[in-house]
């Protein structure tokens, strides 16, 4: 059985625990074992912590990577931010022995060492590449059937030279996954657009972030969307928390919640009561 270290991050466990619950259930159903990455911290957040001090960002990320390496497991994240942050950190530590050395000097103070082995994976990419659409289709008991606007976010596919997962301007991975759950993935323009929350904008320039979000919502609504499916709790938060003020009401689901529904999880186990924009399915 495939096995990964499960990286929770911050927004999921402390704002949308239903995403955590759904991910655990869905992976179990699909025969992938998720082992808790005990003692892990914030990834740390690329837009804020990395913007303040890169050396801190790298050392804290390296601690998380080292904890997984100690378990002999690769990391699975359920957040584009965590994915971007840990993936970038692993890449920087891999390409430059001097940087790795400097970080290990810090880690040695807490009895840890990182040798550069940990691979960082995004859950959607693991589902697509390791589990596969066919196997997912077989696990679906209750096809969801909604007209869905898939939302890729930024750090899942970009920078594409590093990530090498899909065409960032016209991606397909999430469309295929959402269709595997029995929903209809709308063909739509602007799949690659940013939600607006990243880079510290949501906390400092919330009104600017809202302008990004509004532009996304207007496009989705004009194309007839009935639901938004994201793969990042930060995009999730941005769409969920801002729609009331912006006058929209599209239900927002994390892909793990969509799969949870499709695979027959009880509605109360999806944590939908934590959502601000009501989800009535």
């Amino acid at each position: 059985m495939a096995k990964y270290a499960f990286f929770l991050g911050c927004i999921t466990p402390f704002r949308y625990p239903g995403i955590e619950r759904s991910t655990r259930e869905v992976f179990k159903t699909l025969g992938v074992e998720l082992v808790d990455l005990e003692d892990a911290s914030c990834c740390p957040a690329p837009g804020v912590i990395k913007s303040f001090n890169k050396a801190t960002w790298l050392a804290v990320a390296a601690r998380n990577l080292a904890l997984a390496e100690k378990k002999g497991l690769d990391i699975v994240t359920i957040c584009n931010g965590c994915y971007g942050s840990l993936f970038d950190a692993a890449h920087e530590l891999h390409k430059d022995p001097k940087i790795l050395d400097d970080v290990n000097k810090i880690l040695s103070e807490i009895g840890l060492k990182y040798s550069g082995k940990t691979k960082v994976r995004h859950f959607a990419e693991v589902l697509y590449k390791e589990v596969g659409v066919e196997k997912i289709k077989k696990a679906v008991k209750k096809p969801t059937g909604y007209k869905t606007a898939v939302f890729y976010g930024c750090h899942f596919l970009k920078p594409s030279k590093l990530k090498q997962l899909d065409d960032p301007e016209d991606p397909k991975i999430l469309d295929e996954l959402v269709e595997a759950a029995g929903a209809e993935s709308m063909s739509r323009k602007g799949k690659a657009m940013c939600c607006g929350a990243g880079g510290g904008l949501r906390s400092q320039f919330g009104e600017t972030a809202m302008k990004f979000t509004k532009a996304n919502l207007e496009r989705m609504k004009a194309d007839g969307a009935e639901m938004i499916v994201d793969v990042c709790p930060f995009c999730h938060l941005q769409f969920d928390a801002s729609q009331k003020e912006l006058g929209f009401d599209l239900p927002v689901l994390h892909l793990s919640q969509l799969f949870g529904i499709a695979m027959g999880m009880d509605a109360e186990d999806l944590g939908l009561n934590a959502h601000i924009t009501p989800v009535k399915l």
Partner: protein
């Protein structure tokens, strides 16, 4: 009068932003930047100011902090300028000079306090319990020894003092 800072190129490079020097001012990044539609952020301008050593022009004001790190500019730049790395480097330099927005300081302090940028609360604990999850996840916030390790890193890299 705006004065160039001759050592700025070195400072920028030391922070990982040397690729700004490759920019040939085609303007593609600014054209493609979603933030530029709504804000004063003009990426090409920041790159040019960086090349000329116009430190204040590159780091002052809100423009630098209006980037969501969406990487659209990096995807399109014909010169392979790592625009987000340059912006990150400039932000690091600005913060080292004491320019840290209050809301950002709060997020940073949350990392110092809890090991996470978001805190747990009673409502979430109740919800976690309903979902048959432990009230606190098995992360650094739930283990004092692990938290002490994280504290040590934040201290060794000077982060605790930087964001105080």
């Amino acid at each position: 009068m705006i004065k160039p800072v001759p050592e700025f190129a070195e400072e920028l490079a030391a922070n990982g932003g040397s690729s700004a020097m490759l920019c040939f001012q085609c303007g593609t990044c600014t054209l493609k930047c979603p933030s530029a539609k709504y804000t004063s952020l003009r990426t090409a301008h920041i790159m040019r100011a960086s090349q000329l050593g116009l430190k204040d022009e590159a780091i002052d004001g809100d423009s630098l902090w209006q980037c969501t790190t969406c990487y659209t500019c990096v995807e399109w730049c014909p010169r392979n300028v790592q625009v987000v790395d340059v912006i990150t480097a400039l932000r690091n330099i600005a913060v080292a000079d004491g320019m840290l927005h209050e809301s950002h300081r709060k997020v940073a302090q949350s990392l110092v306090k809890f090991g996470h940028t978001v805190e747990n609360n009673e409502k979430i604990k109740a919800l976690r319990k309903e979902l048959r999850l432990p009230e606190n996840p098995p992360t650094v916030m739930n283990n004092t020894a692990a938290k002490a390790d994280l504290d040590k890193i934040l201290n060794l890299t000077g982060f605790d003092k930087l964001v105080k």
